[in-house]
Symmetry: C2
């Protein structure tokens, strides 16, 4: 029942020896979702102990090299390791051409297919779901480059039945699923037992939103509203606010403003310009606006607990 984010890389275009380009892996109940894939992502996966072969879904935000040039190396290693399971990749059309070019270049040693899913960077849409999780892509605002953010949300679980009550009211098995879905119980005499008396509500579904790269844009607020965890790029400090706007990036404070307006649980900032070997200033500027902010580093792991979410959101 995990919901854990691992930061594989959190620098912007220029990687340093200790901060790689953008890449993250989100583990939702043992489904491993790779978000962006900068250079060296396959190496960071090993360093931070996630098996390459567990990754079945890759989401690429946009066609700037620091967000996808790790893919050919990752794919070729998956092939060398004998992968047969399909790899699902979600991204813009240009990425499909890029992957086709490299698959041809690296020749026919691949025993798995790349199942490419074109996603539309111009509107919010559901791009993946299974029985436990939904993934939406939505527009980010990165100048002329079509760019998508991604929202991961657990599906609502059924309520848990209270054992004692089942016995007390002699509830037949046939009724149990309906009651877990929220129905009241009506016995033979026509007496109604309200659902609240029979069930403990399931914990609220957990959610994570990824917003990189983007300018400050309040159109993101309703989309990331109330998520437990928000990653919002913070390429620059306040001092560079004009440069940030010019480059279609955000400042740490702007990231925090989105977090505040959307009332998220926790804010992660990253995608740092290489001019900030020490990111304390970025974290401090963000915290002036939104206290529960963390400036991530490569290897940062954030685990969203299933229960006691409110305490966690304050922590």
């Amino acid at each position: 029942m995990q919901f854990e984010l691992t930061i594989l890389g959190c620098n912007s275009a220029l990687p340093t020896a200790y901060r790689y380009q953008t890449a993250q892996v989100l583990n939702v109940s043992e489904r491993f979702f790779l978000i962006d894939c900068g250079e060296g992502t396959q190496i960071q996966l090993r360093r931070f102990k996630t098996s390459l072969q567990k990754i079945n879904y890759v989401f690429i935000s946009h066609m700037h090299g620091d967000h996808f040039i790790g893919l050919p190396g990752l794919i070729s290693s998956m092939a060398l390791l004998g992968r047969t399971r399909p790899l699902h990749i979600f991204g813009p059309r240009a990425l499909k051409e890029y992957l086709d070019y490299h698959t041809k270049l690296f020749g026919g040693r691949m025993e798995f297919v790349i199942d490419f899913h074109l996603n539309n960077p111009s509107k919010k849409e559901l791009i993946f779901e299974d029985k436990v999780v939904e993934v939406y892509s939505f527009p980010l605002y990165h100048g002329s480059i079509p760019t998508s953010g991604f929202l991961f949300r657990e599906k609502r679980r059924l309520a848990n039945l209270i054992k004692e009550k089942l016995q007390e009211y002699k509830i037949p098995v046939s009724q149990m699923h309906r009651i877990r879905e929220g129905a009241d119980f009506i016995n033979d005499k026509g007496e109604v037992v309200p659902n609240e008396e029979l069930t403990i509500p399931a914990p609220t579904p957990r959610s994570y939103a990824f917003c990189s790269d983007t300018s400050y844009d309040e159109r993101l607020v309703p989309i990331v509203k109330e998520v437990d965890l928000l990653y919002h790029e913070a390429t620059f400090s306040e001092k560079e606010r004009e440069l940030a706007a010019k480059r279609f990036h955000s400042t740490a404070k702007q990231a925090a403003r989105i977090a505040l307006k959307a009332n998220v649980g926790k804010l992660l900032i990253g995608h740092y310009s290489a001019r900030y070997p020490d990111t304390t200033i970025l974290q401090e500027q963000a915290q002036e606006v939104f206290k529960n902010t963390l400036a991530v580093e490569d290897g940062t792991k954030i685990n969203i607990p299933l229960k006691n979410r409110e305490q966690w959101r304050q922590s």
Copy 2:
């Protein structure tokens, strides 16, 4: 007057968290030659303190991804850092197409040209020289993939004149260069002063040969004869000798046999299969044949001294 090799990556196709794919940088009197460029090379250059912008010459051995997929990232970082100096890249034709594809993909932000030099993997030839160093490419034997090794050799320096003798024999400035080149001195009376009496010979030029990837092949022996430093791939241990042959790679012992027959100074082995997290076995097997062998790691630096070469070669 440096002649220093730094290993940036020494694993084969599958990188690990601590051993990257093939890449090395050779510093010959502040000329920085990059040899192969696996994934993450730009990151390793930073980790091991070589400025990207100092690299003006890149040599790519062959078109297996683990030897060149770091180039697009390296080039795009050079561009972001405002490079204007041309970058000279030596490699096979397919590499030119690969670079053209990526330059187009990453758009027009590059303010420097890539000067591509096609080298012929089927014969030994001089591919670069300036006043201090010559670089030759020569054939390696890697199955159907045309593959080149590279030989770096300092040019011979002029002998040094012995000051006292210049005065003793009143040697005019006009004669000095000829004498440094090896001529005897003939005075007005026609008396001959032999060159040995007037000069101290310059130290022997230093040399380094790179052989990866290749099967065991004794045709390499005359080409790397007597070099101070030889890097020869050792993908496998003796136990995997047949697999090595099948994959057109070498064992550590085979690398050592080439070193022994060529009477090189020091042997470096690398390009390890990921099955050897500990390479002691490979070093031991090589040392049974050629004692002065080192199994390199990422970050290994080897400095060839200008003087007292013989002691160094024994060390």
